[in-house]
Symmetry: D2
Subunit: 353 residues, 4 copies
């Protein structure tokens, strides 16, 4: 079948037309024909051969990459009752151990032995993918496939907003990539009274302004940063925002976040800093009485219920606006080139075209 592979520690990915088609092996397997799949930030890191990822992937190489997708069930194992051929589905690509304290208590997103398809095992940049039945999520028939293609990323945004209640709160979002823009809209849909968002890319900020952000700040200049901090502090009863979502992973955003959040505020971290960062824990976390939430993956499967519910509650238009590029799978390089240049929002591949 057609697939995009990581075959060696070298930079880049390769397209093939004769990857082995995965099959239903276990009684609980589900085979899905991939209708649409999307590039995630991690895929970019895989393309660039980030050493940690390359090291992790090496035992499985060549690996079919990709972990965001939707498709149609084409075959199921003998024990599978929760979906059937013809169903329109997506799937959680974190394969959980099922045995650790997190898996056994409803916190499988923090499983101690997660296997991620598209990294540790074959993923979905391909015509077909096989997943355990428990990981399958049935989708409404009328959900556009281009949107269903990146529910995994939508789930990251939704999960980021999950540990905090933002009803009537001021929320600052650091980073206006797709997750930041979706996060802005989710925050507004969830009752935030004001959403402030920062980035260094004015185009992204302009899109965010159309999708929930009440104020945007280009923090590429010191003046912009100062305007952001000043705005955050201009609530005299709080002198800072109630909640900060850090989605950029950028060191300077970490400086901003500890300045912009109020005493007793909440911080949610999803963006991945490339390097260790130096933080004044005493002044900025302990004396501030902050609560900080590190976010990994999607809650299994609370996040999936929640994202489908939020789509019904008004998130869909924002999701559609995230889709900036679509290609057949063989043109994967065009899609990656766009993301490597820092352009576009969600780039979709359609393996069937």
């Amino acid at each position: 079948m057609k697939a995009i592979l990581k075959s060696s520690p070298e930079k880049g990915l390769t397209f093939t037309t004769n990857a082995p088609e995965p099959q239903v092996v276990s009684q609980s397997d589900v085979k899905i024909r991939v209708m649409a799949t999307a590039i995630c930030g991690t895929d970019i890191d895989i393309y660039k051969s980030d050493p940690d990822l390359t090291h992790r992937m090496r035992p499985a190489m060549p690996v079919v990459t990709g972990h965001e997708f939707c498709g149609e069930v084409v075959a199921v194992g003998g024990d599978v009752v929760r979906c059937k051929a013809g169903d329109f589905v997506s799937a959680e690509m974190h394969i959980l151990c099922g045995e650790c304290v997190n898996c056994r208590t409803g916190n499988g997103h923090a499983c101690i032995d997660t296997i991620i398809k598209g990294i540790d095992a074959d993923g979905c940049f391909a015509e077909y993918v096989v997943v355990p039945a428990s990981n399958v999520v049935k989708l409404p028939e009328d959900l556009p496939v281009e949107v269903a293609a990146f529910l995994d990323a939508i789930g990251n945004a939704v999960h980021t907003l999950t540990p905090v209640s933002v009803v009537a709160k001021r929320v600052a979002i650091l980073g206006a990539g797709p997750i930041g823009i979706m996060g802005a809209k989710i925050a507004k849909l969830s009752g935030a009274r004001e959403v402030l968002i920062t980035d260094v890319n004015q185009g992204l900020l302009d899109i965010a302004a159309k999708h929930g952000a009440d104020q945007t700040f280009n923090v590429g200049t010191e003046q912009g940063r100062q305007a952001f901090i000043d705005t955050c502090k201009n609530d005299p009863a709080a002198r800072g925002v109630d909640t900060v979502l850090e989605l950029s992973g950028h060191p300077s955003a970490y400086k901003d976040l500890f300045q912009c959040v109020r005493m007793g505020g909440e911080v949610v971290l999803l963006g991945l800093p490339r390097e260790p960062l130096t933080v004044n824990f005493t002044r900025d976390i302990i004396f501030k009485g902050l609560t900080i939430h590190g976010i990994i993956g999607r809650r299994t499967y609370d996040t999936w219920f929640r994202m489908l519910g939020l789509i019904q509650a008004g998130l869909l238009d924002t999701l559609k606006a995230m889709v900036t590029h679509q290609f057949p799978l063989e043109d994967f390089q065009k899609g990656f080139d766009i993301k490597l240049k820092g352009e576009g929002l969600k780039v979709i591949f359609k393996p069937g075209e």
Copy 2:
């Protein structure tokens, strides 16, 4: 009256016998005769003239130091009904603004404009202290004055255990000073199935072992550190402890804490690192799905109810064991010398003796 003053940015403190006796001025003031008061870590920093503290205290100098105490009410303002002369009391020495979002929503410990008596204004290393009536906490008559002298510190330990539920959990405590030892006992009283504690001082670890710690680890050696990490990881369903309380402020403890905690675990920070620390947020917080709580002060006044309740639930013997030294106020230097040498647990002054 007798008092211990910080009179200048120079190192050390001075004893005086003619500090002005504070008086009931506002209708809501309460004047208390100090029966016993205790040295806190912050007092040591004030003694050493930590630059941040000295800078903060300068406008108020000379300042009566000290902020942990108990005593007897001797006079109250005209509007005060919640206590009266003769009552045995302690008091919260964080004076809150009453106006910010935290004060107005039951989170005054994170008040944006706190004044701390003993730092920003006159404290309790003296014969008398005056506080707002709302800050007064009435005490059971049979609570030993030596224990009542450091409820402020007990409250720090209690507050540290407040944002987490430790029922049936494994808890690691980093730092076996008085707050660590009290924390170990509180964790056990609150249902922890196992409490592990670390320090570099074997004497402190031995005391902790008598007061709730199930296992102690001298992390002064690499072997000791490794034994600690290995023990934390030896639960195959979690590969780490559920909850870590960081009470040392030591950089190496921060390394331990991110190794010893399990995926999806909880971290509570109370110890104050002297310098900014470098942390791998991606690997150690985000990918681990941690929740981190910075702890400041005591919840007003939930923590005070909670500590009196825990004393009734079995904490008292541990508290009594914390009292290692007692002096009249004029011998304050002896008390500070002990703490400066890193000896003793709680050092009590009795201004009336």
Copy 3:
């Protein structure tokens, strides 16, 4: 001054022009000129001489009734710094004891010794009212006085939605009076994916449909009731709604609520049944694994922050639509007649007109 009094256990209220004008007595008092005030359901019960209320009010009779209002500060006691003459304000009319465990831990709405102005002491159906400074809430200058007149009731609706998170949830609201309609809008603003509302008054349901309710059900007929239950159950993964808000106090609504809520769902009770009700605790609460929240008053003062935040987040148009009638204070009987007939939503009095 002008005021509406409950002077005797007899039915009805009386208008007077020579009620004694309340004055600033304590150093912490604030005197407010009432600009607008609104009829609450409790005022109707007072009018009707509900025996419990009459019994409670008797010691204070004649009592100035009314407890929802906004106005302008005209005088403040010597200790008051948090507001000043000229400020546009409302006030929490539950006067808390300040001493109980609830008051001292941020849960003053459940104070064990609350005095309610307008019941236990003089209220705001008058030209002036005096309240403790701590109870005053400053308002944005541009908030319409007709809306500010019933923040107390808005706060009931906001408080009802506070113990539950409705993000992506299905919510059923039983009772489409003003609090039900506001609750529908607040639920939608807070991320609910679907809001269902019931009443026996089609006119109210039609208004609710314009303010957040996705589906309305006239449960005056058995057919309507069944349609409601069926719709609640038509989610195959839940067979019931996630959250129910009971705002009617009607016995038949209690039947509906235990049928419409899903296993493991949440129930919030604000409506006041007039009589004890018979409930199958085993089948309907225990085996269903429900959580039930009784709601009293407004959280002090979290609810006030929250309602001002929600107004900023989009609640204002709904609030304006609640104002159906306005009268000068002397025409109070017209206002009460409307409510006694079950007509109108919020009836406003303007004592200055």
Copy 4:
């Protein structure tokens, strides 16, 4: 094999020696040799042919009864990796649908389609039982089989204490049967400052007094009831206990609970009233600002981790004290006779003897 059956709607149970031995059928089945099993209150209701239960069991009759047990794995299906022959285990006997919103979000205890083994399908009053692998819980080798026999009931007690934090709280427990006594001990182990317990059986109260209850009240007399209420109310800052656990299901206990709990307190319901009860929702739940938790089953599998952790934290001696009678399976009638007379605590059957 030997088994105790419910074969008809008639009262009583029957012992057989030739029940069909259950076999591993699905790849995920686990077959367990029952080492010890215990009578639960539901088994008594089955014995008495409670109409609801009889109606529910009819389609499956004859049904092997019983749902609390421990044993040794003797065979596993081909996909099972989480346990193996020889393992000492217990199992959750609620078989969950795996598909509903509760199952998919870590709240399977409230599954909308639960099958209970011992009611809807064959249970464990037998030599062998087969369960899905996911329901198996491995046990420490040194846990006494007599205690491991009733982990299901221990889990009910643990679950009851789960939605509330009792650290430093006053807790009232209504009903001093096995779950009440275990609840008292768990409350104390979890930090309660005072545990009050009521019953009409003085013998049970005496046992409770040895296992965590600070005060016991025989509410068989009006004087005893009044003493209980008075004691609950004698905290002047609360005028009631913080938390009430209702474990009796008795109508008069429901009267007590609404009197003994403080404003803003928490109520947990596990005991099963036989009839609908009449409650003053307005006065007793809404105006009191209560939160009420209905408890069903055990959290899957948080409760199982928690009970093993609490055993390690000090619960074991209390559990051992619950075992008052042991019989071989053929003497089941003796065991039931004891419970039918209201005597004994946990009655254990050992099918292998």
